[in-house]
Amino acid sequence: MSSLDQKASSSATTERVKASLRKRYAAEKRFKLYGIVAISASIAFLFLLMGSIISKGLPAFSQTYVNLNVSLSAEQLDIDPTATDSELRRANFSGVIKQAMRDRFPDVSKRRDKKALYSLISTGAEYDLYDRIVADRSLIGQNVNLWLIADDELSAIVKSKSDLSAPDSIVTRLTDQQVGWAKNLQDAGDVDVRFNRTFFVNGDSREPELAGIKAALMGSAFTLLITFTLSFPIAVASAIYLEEFAPQNRWTDIVEVNINNLAAVPSIVFGLLGLAVFINFFHLPRSAPIVGGIVLSLMTLPTIIISSRAALKAVPPSIREAARGLGASPLQVVTHHVLPLAMPGILTGTIIGLAQALGETAPLLMIGMVAFIVDIPTSVTDAATVLPVQVFLWADSPERAFLEKTSAAIMVLLVFLILMNAIAVMLRKRFERRW
């Protein structure tokens, strides 16, 4: 090809390229748009999820109360005024409350209507009464105005700020008659919405308005405690061995590959392991945080080992050489010099691993931590459930009010997770060292 040919082909190139440019730039724009769409869709989904959960869950943080004039005479309560606390348990609280409701709505006479009327007050009001009387014996024999917990259906229509004078427009399981009573109470100023303490101090309950997350929270705390005490030292020790002492041989290779694979094994398989080994073979108690903690620590171990190794690897060899040059033994080099420097990184990895464990549900279902837990667990061997499992249980409940409880429990769970991750990020930022 001569120089002239080349010139011709060069100018042909110019022409061809020019001709193709518009189309290519359009493709360029389209491609970039796909990227923007993909990332914004993912982020939009995050907001949709959060928004839906927050909007559903917020009402759960408030609780509706009804003001009633209750007559606490010993006779009505059917007790001896000097009754002990345990005798007091058998007092006729429900009768007292029913009487108060009848007094408030004297026109209600039919048996069926009365029953409908009573159902506006939660059964939890009885326990509340008991607590008050135990706290203050002088209440016996008095007529007092008390704010009592309302039933969840009543609570729902009050909290949703529905127009109670138009019962037809409200979606509720309450009858028009019950809505009418509610309207009466509301107009008299006898209905109030307050912060829901119950949600944070109670265990689970069949009654949505009495159900709380404390049992699940304590269960999660005990489980995480076990997970941390087991996984942290073991993971750090493994990471130190693999990073600092392990000889380059087949066994080390196998261990490494094994750890990486374990990190990707589905969590439910760890649940099967827990069921077969710890419960059926070692006969550890079912539903207990100790088993949950062991299973979760086996599950989080690979994660923490991998990040701990990365943190150890980031410590420059010069520091090891310097320490060794001063006559430190290999173990001293690690414990005195390398480990302290790697600690922030290791802790970050540990917190992220624990956050994973906190959100884990499936393996815990396998080992029976899916029980209906009313009592707050007090040790690692008590039957317990954890927050995500509580979410799972409530999500299954038919009552509408459990929907908001579920969302609220999720909010609490997410707050903890975000807190943990924020701490991890802060640790990383604060102690990040560039070598």
């Binding site: 290519r24 730039y25 360029e28 491609f31 990227g35 923007i36 993909a38 990332i39 993912s42 982020i43 989904f45 995050l46 999820l49 959960i53 073991i234 020790a237 493994s238 130190i240 061995y241 693999l242 002492f245 392990a246 261990v255 590959v257 094994n258 990486n260 694979n261 374990l262 990707a264 094994v265 589905p266 969590s267 439910i268 398989v269 760890f270 099967l272 392991l273 077969a276 059926n280 006969h283 690979p302 080992i305 290999p330 173990l331 956050a355 959100g359 549900t361 499936a362 279902l365 396998m366 995500p388 499992v389 979410v391 799972f392 999500a395 929907l403 579920t406 769970l413 997410l414 991750n421």
Partner: protein
């Protein structure tokens, strides 16, 4: 004396012997002309004494506690009435359980059956004897160990080496725990699964098309003989995973490409943490969202255009699972895309390629092995994902490719078969382990391939 107290006591003894050993080392050193005369630091001698004191004792306590239950149970046999023994092993087991419960709840006094009372008293007796024996044994060993080690505090004793050997052994055993876990998984799943395959043939399990695990409680019940054909489960799992990947791969990959190649630093700094949050949301939350928000929404959309959508459609579960996996795919792809050397991009730009041409025709082909590895890992995650499908996919073992119908998955069935109270040895619960075995084998296979591919890919550009 409870075991916890004994445990703590031993550890306390260990700490005390550390202090004593150290001070002993100092005084020995003084006699030999200062600390430098010793081979190791005094604290090493202290550690040595502490380890010699506590380790054997703790080992004894733990092994005792493991052996104790079966030992006591065997010794209890003589106290159990012959009538019960005649009733077979199960009856004896039940009887022993009963007695155990009585003793635990301290109700011996209220037992009216004399034989039972006798057995209960014997059990109490055995237990206290065992506790006492353990107490004496553990403390003797602890003190003997400490004494032995104390005599070894001499300048020529290499205390540091001894201590470091123990520590190193501890490190090695920790690292090997991962192997032990894998072995534990394999054995526990394999063992129960084998028992299942003795009842239900392996072939029937992997080729049968009817899944209804309800076995008869009484032999004479009608229509309740379980059938364990797992094919509908496998297909359901595949369908949902497929839908999930249809969502996760394009969105995850494009997000990664945008973040790695196009996004400005501020955009990256905001978008990446947001994706990380998406990745950190527990699966049970996704499940809740799928079941209570997405599924009803899909259903009403379907109705409005005249489609019948099941309220537990594979589409809802799969789509939400896909969204859950987006950040996973995106962060793995981001890593491999940024690992493609800049010189390759320069080469493409130098020829007059636009950015998207460079990405599509140079960067992605170069990163393909890594991306494929990441996608395989994502598939393995989708297959093993449990909560979303448990909450949103339902139990109907349909064989269908229609994403609007309900299907069930392997993980859903494992959960259903194993939650609630049931006899552990029934075919039903064993079936869960057989499914677990399938799940483990398939995901392990995917993981090994994926990790291998990704590792090879990284080595190529390092």
């Amino acid at each position: 004396m409870s075991t916890t107290t004994l445990f703590l006591l031993t550890i306390g003894l260990g700490i005390a012997s550390y202090a004593y050993g150290r001070s002993r080392a100092y005084s020995v050193a003084k006699r030999h002309g200062g600390v430098r005369a010793l081979h190791s630091l005094p604290s090493h001698y202290g550690m040595m004494v502490a380890l010699w004191c506590a380790l054997p004792a703790l080992a004894i306590i733990i092994s005792w506690k493991i052996i104790e239950p079966s030992l006591i149970s065997n010794m209890l046999d003589s106290a159990i009435p012959q009538a019960i023994h005649d009733g077979g092993v199960e009856a004896v087991k039940l009887y022993k359980n009963d007695i155990g419960n009585l003793v635990d709840s301290e109700k011996i006094a209220s037992i009216d059956n004399a034989e039972k009372k006798l057995a209960a008293e014997r059990l109490t007796n055995l237990r206290s004897t065992s506790a006492l024996a353990l107490f004496v044994l553990a403390l003797t060993v602890a003190i003997a160990g400490a004494a032995l080690a104390l005599r070894k505090i001499k300048p020529e004793t290499r205390a540091r080496h001894k201590v470091e050997r123990v520590v190193k052994f501890f490190l090695i055993s920790c690292a090997s725990l991962a192997i032990l876990t894998t072995i534990g998984i394999v054995f526990s799943v394999l063992f129960e699964a084998t028992r299942f395959f003795q009842e239900v043939g392996f072939l029937e399990f992997v080729t049968g098309t009817k899944w209804s695990p309800q076995t008869a409680i009484r032999a004479d019940q009608v229509g309740a003989s379980g059938s364990f054909g797992a094919v509908p489960l496998f297909l359901g799992t595949l369908l949902i995973s497929f839908i999930a990947m249809l969502v996760a791969v394009p969105f995850g990959l494009m997000s990664a490409i945008y973040l790695a190649e196009y996004a400005s630093r501020p955009v990256r700094n905001i978008a990446k943490p947001l994706l990380e949050i998406l990745a950190g949301i527990p699966t049970v939350v996704y499940g809740f969202f799928a079941a209570l928000t997405v599924a009803p929404a899909l259903r009403s959309v379907g109705e409005s255009i005249g489609l019948s959508v099941s309220s537990e459609s594979a589409l809802a579960a799969g789509a939400v699972m896909g969204i859950m996996i987006i950040p996973f795919v995106s962060s793995l792809s981001d890593d491999v895309i940024t690992a493609v050397p800049q010189s390759m991009r320069d080469g493409s730009y130098g020829l007059g390629a636009t950015k998207s041409e460079t990405v599509r025709k140079v960067v992605i082909p170069a990163a393909l092995p890594g991306i494929v590895g990441g996608v395989l890992l994502a598939v393995s995650r989708a297959i093993g994902e449990t909560m979303i499908v448990v909450m949103a996919a339902g139990l109907a073992a349909n064989m269908t490719a229609n994403p609007l119908e309900a299907v069930t998955t392997v993980t859903v069935q494992i959960v259903t078969l194993l939650t609630g109270d049931q006899e552990f040895d029934s075919a039903k619960t064993l079936a869960a382990f057989a499914l677990g075995l399938m799940l483990f084998v398939v995901t392990l296979f995917l993981n090994i391939i994926a990790l291998h591919v990704v590792r090879k890919y990284r080595e190529q550009y390092e």
